[in-house]
Amino acid sequence: MSLLNTARDALAAQSYGLDVTGQNISNVNTPGYVRRSPILETQALGTATTGSVKIGGLQRATDVYTEAATYTANGSAAAANTRDQSLASVESLFNDTSGQGLASSLGNVFSSFSALAANPTDATTRANVLSAADAFSQRVNQTANSLAQTSNDLLKQGQETVSEINQRATDIAKLNSQIQQAQAQGNDASDLLDQRDAKLSDLSSLVDVHTYTDNQGNLVVQASGATIVNGSTVSALSVGLAADGSMQILSNQPSPGSDVTQYLTGGSLAGIKQARDGDIASVSAQLDQFAFDVASAVNTQHAAGYGSDGSTGNNLFDIPPTATGAARAISLSADVAGHPERVAAASSAATTPGGSDNAAALSGLSTQTIASGNTETASDAYGDLVGNVGELRASSQRNVTTQTAVQQQAQTMQQSLSGVSLDDEMVALTKYQNAYGAASKVLNTVDQMMSDLMNAVGR
């Protein structure tokens, strides 16, 4: 009697449906859980045209396109966020809205020249020129050192990120072999697949991730264009420094030490790279140029004048011969440090001590185009610097907003596909419950028929 088998299979299938629904409900808040649905297939019984139902296993509600879109979106959002965090600290260095920034210390230097011209014989006025120049140097040093510090921190952060990437790659490779083993033994690997997807999603926040399955059925994971996982094999990434001091991402593929930096497009690693070698490097270079231009122009004018002791040719600032590193190196010149009498207010030895031509000329530098290749004044150049930093941060903030929206969209899509909806599960619960009841009815009917038959035969 095939109907008995049919009823048995139906009860088993509907109860499996209830089990799966229960699992979905219990994991409604589990991160990384992908909704499952039971695969039910018709089953032929022998050669008979009537048959029953067969449990074909589980299906995870996921697809490659949605996963890939989520990884890309995660990567871009993480890159934007990481970059923005670094830029926030850079921006605070150039925030002059409180009036205590670099602009005011530059202004004080020129003000001290102006006061020197008004009173060239006063020892205090001379000492003020030195202290204003010293304060300006120190303010520039601090700003440049903070930038260098941020850059160093970012390199360290990059190294930590890469070791985290390698750790994730190892985890994924281990899961790959476990999944292969489970599938070879005919077991359900859904939980392992969930775990692997969660690891991949984590990884996609660290670096740009592309995955595909090769023709041997191995999952291949590529990060920054380099294969880091192939089935159960891991190929670690590492961080190096290029000759120009920029951060390099190195892979063992195709040969050890291959530079794959140019393929880095996403994840916090890309954000770190852009903040360090793009944004901060350009701001540092601009600050160097600004400090170098101001100091050179002041030095030239100062060296042309004469101190009240008749000395001449003294620089006011010590700077390196080129703009590179000028902001970190600038200091009050050893020529004049501790020697206010050498501050050159007069334009000739004969006109000391009352001559103020040179001091007035120094003060006049504030309105002369001495910066950016003699195209703008020092304060305009500093304004440009502030504007640039502001624009970098503003565009980074806009990017964060955009990328976060894209990421949310991708996550919504993924949630819509893979997430558990209690409404759906409630409907499914009712569906399987009803079907289970109906299958019981079939069994009951078979039982009734059998008992009718027995009664008829036994009479």
């Binding site: 006109t351 001590p353 009352g354 500093y382």
Partner: protein, 292 residues
């Protein structure tokens, strides 16, 4: 679209946090009264504000320069005026001494008075201001005139930067006012009068009359120049105050937030936040089949 429970929670969290962060930034604007609290709030305005800040520093530096040199300029002017008055007095004495009815003892008395005038003139020539001797040119450290009126200073200028295209000279030249560099050696002329009076030399006295006039005119010219310098300083002061006001207004326009709109923005956002929180509560409390 298939709506899952996770989506509901995520949406509620995202919307609430987006509103909160906007509320925070508007609250900061309302509290500080500044629209630009960081360069990224408005990069162009931030750059402009940095430039305006240095313009302000420059203006106040020039203003303090003017106020510190103006005192000396006034002192120079009044000293020269006194010197000019003394020359007028010397001329009177010369005219008196030229009178033929006087004898040598009368002239000797007048000569004593002329000697006093000479001493006073030297003292005026050695007037000290806040930056040293006013009439010594750049040689401000030592008295430019000896007791006999010999000049040891120079004709150098004391220049300052008060915003004109070239540095402005703010000192009165003692060389031009008192020495042969300006035409007549004033002290020499007065000394000649003294000598003529002492020697009872009527011809000499008469001869000095013209020279004394020329000398006095020379000092008056220097006094007029000193007045011009003061006028220049005053003109610059008013230009600088106007510029200062202008740059302050620009900073206000660029950086400050309109109090009324900041407050109304804040109120609107507070309301939005309250509404959003209540919507979130409603969405999250949809019971679906849970009660069945």
């Amino acid at each position: 679209m298939r709506v899952t429970d996770g989506m509901r929670y995520t949406m509620a969290t995202q919307n609430l946090s987006a509103l909160s962060s906007r509320q925070l930034s508007v609250a900061q604007q309302a509290q500080t009264g500044l629209r630009v609290n960081a360069p990224s709030d408005d990069p162009i305005a931030a750059a402009q504000l940095a430039r305006l800040a240095s313009v302000q520093t420059q203006i106040s530096a020039r203003q303090s320069t003017i106020s510190s040199v103006r005192g000396d300029a006034e002192l120079s002017e009044s000293s020269l005026q006194e010197a000019s008055d003394l020359m007028a007095r010397a001329k009177e004495l010369a005219t008196q001494g030229a009178n033929g009815s006087l004898d040598s003892s009368d002239r000797a008395i007048i000569a004593t008075q002329v000697k006093d005038i000479l001493d006073q003139l030297v003292a005026l020539g050695n007037t000290k201001g806040s930056t040293g001797y006013l009439f010594g040119g750049t040689q401000t450290g030592a008295a430019p005139f000896s007791a006999t009126g010999a000049f040891s200073g120079d004709d150098g200028q004391h220049v300052v930067d008060i915003g004109n295209s070239t540095p402005t000279a703010v000192n009165s030249s003692g060389a031009q006012a008192f020495t042969a560099a300006g035409g007549r050696d004033v002290f020499g002329d007065v000394n000649a009068l003294y000598t003529a009076l002492s020697n009872n030399d009527t011809a000499g006295i008469t001869a000095s009359l013209t020279n004394l006039d020329t000398s006095r005119a020379q000092i008056s010219q220097a006094e007029a120049n000193a007045g011009t310098i003061i006028n220049k300083l005053d003109a610059s002061t008013s230009v600088l105050s106007a510029a200062s006001l202008d740059s302050q207004q620009q900073s206000q326009t660029l950086g400050a937030v309109d109090a009324a709109s900041a407050y109304s923005n804040l109120t609107a956002l507070n309301n939005a936040l309250t509404r959003s929180a209540s919507v979130a509560q409603q969405i999250l409390s949809v019971e679906s089949f849970k009660s069945s």
